[in-house]
Symmetry: C3
Subunit: 155 residues, 3 copies
């Protein structure tokens, strides 16, 4: 049993780095949801009829600009976070070194927090630059995943 | 070889609980897609032109209320399921105990089925309460993930 | 240490197949983003105000039909790819045989590339048929996941 536990700890040394990055990103999306709910309640316009009744607001599709920004942040996160998480986990399972994983996952988390901030504040060309940085980190992980997968097959 | 198989079974005891929860959630999203396709065909309004031609319906963006509800369920699932799945898998990989995983994953699956039901039926404040319950389960998993990750590093 | 590495290689023989499928799907979504950005810039209509200012275009919600097609491809991918990735990874972790994983994951990747192509070209009933093929592959993986999970518990 103790041997088995040791195996996992030594074969997946970057697993804690993945865990921290994942929870940090989950915290970010939880904050986005909170921000969206609060700003929608303040605007008093609800695209779903029972929400309008519950909050005694107006039922309409023309949400306030900031509420739409929150929805845009969420849509961008649904497009990007699952692929990052899958790439990061594949990297960990293929035996990613701790330092490399900490650097790449940490950079991605910081970049996505920055992306959310500049998206909510409406800052261009910063949003484009930050978005491309996040993509660069994902492709850096993808390249390492392919190299380790190739070595894995050859082993 | 048999030793190796034993390793995986003993190091990842909660993997079957993850597998069942995943397939149960996949079944839920498959049902949502089916419901959306059927209700869109009945309404006869299609936002994509070639779909309108194929189904001999009207090409327009004003989808029927129930079709929009199905789209809302899907959007909510794309925002929430990938993060739950990543958290649950991280928990399993960090050596989650079977009972804890079965309880947390099972609760989440039931809560998300209930969320879909109350969203389609338009029931508030139930949808808000069920949504927050799902978030509470995810944060309970996240807390355990962080604790196990911290122990993992210290080991 | 060398024993440990051998364990992972022998217990998760299908991990490289997952890695290749994941990177292939990530490449597809990266191409979709590129196509969306380029076609939006050509159309000159931007739903986000700071993007319109940056690109000296018009700020409006009525995006060009092809830009909307790219958004539809992305939305369909956010609904389907995370669940496929989770199912494929669960299959790998439960000890999927290499040949089965290569066949199922490879088929899914080809099917999703075809789905994107027919969605962008507006071809029906091909899109419906290709979509259902992708769902069939996912359910084939799900069935294998449940069988392995059941064996895992019994072991």
């Amino acid at each position: 049993m103790s041997l088995t536990t040791t195996s996992l700890t030594t074969t997946l040394p970057a697993l804690p780095a993945f865990a921290w990055a994942l929870v940090a990103l989950f915290a970010k999306t939880s904050l986005t949801s909170l921000l969206q709910v609060v700003s929608r309640a303040r605007a008093g316009v609800f695209p779903i009829p029972e929400d309008a009744r519950l909050m005694r607001g107006r039922h309409a599709d023309d949400e306030a600009p900031f509420v739409r920004r929150c929805a845009n942040v969420w849509r961008n996160d649904t497009e990007n976070l699952p692929l990052f998480l899958a790439l990061a986990l594949a990297y960990v399972l293929l035996g990613a070194p701790v330092a490399s994983a900490q650097w790449l996952f940490g950079a991605y988390v910081l970049i996505r927090y920055a992306h959310t901030a500049v998206f909510l504040l409406g800052l261009q060309p910063w949003r484009a630059l930050v978005y491309l940085s996040g993509m660069a980190v994902c492709w850096a992980i993808a390249a390492r995943v392919l190299m380790l997968a190739a070595a894995h097959v050859g082993a």
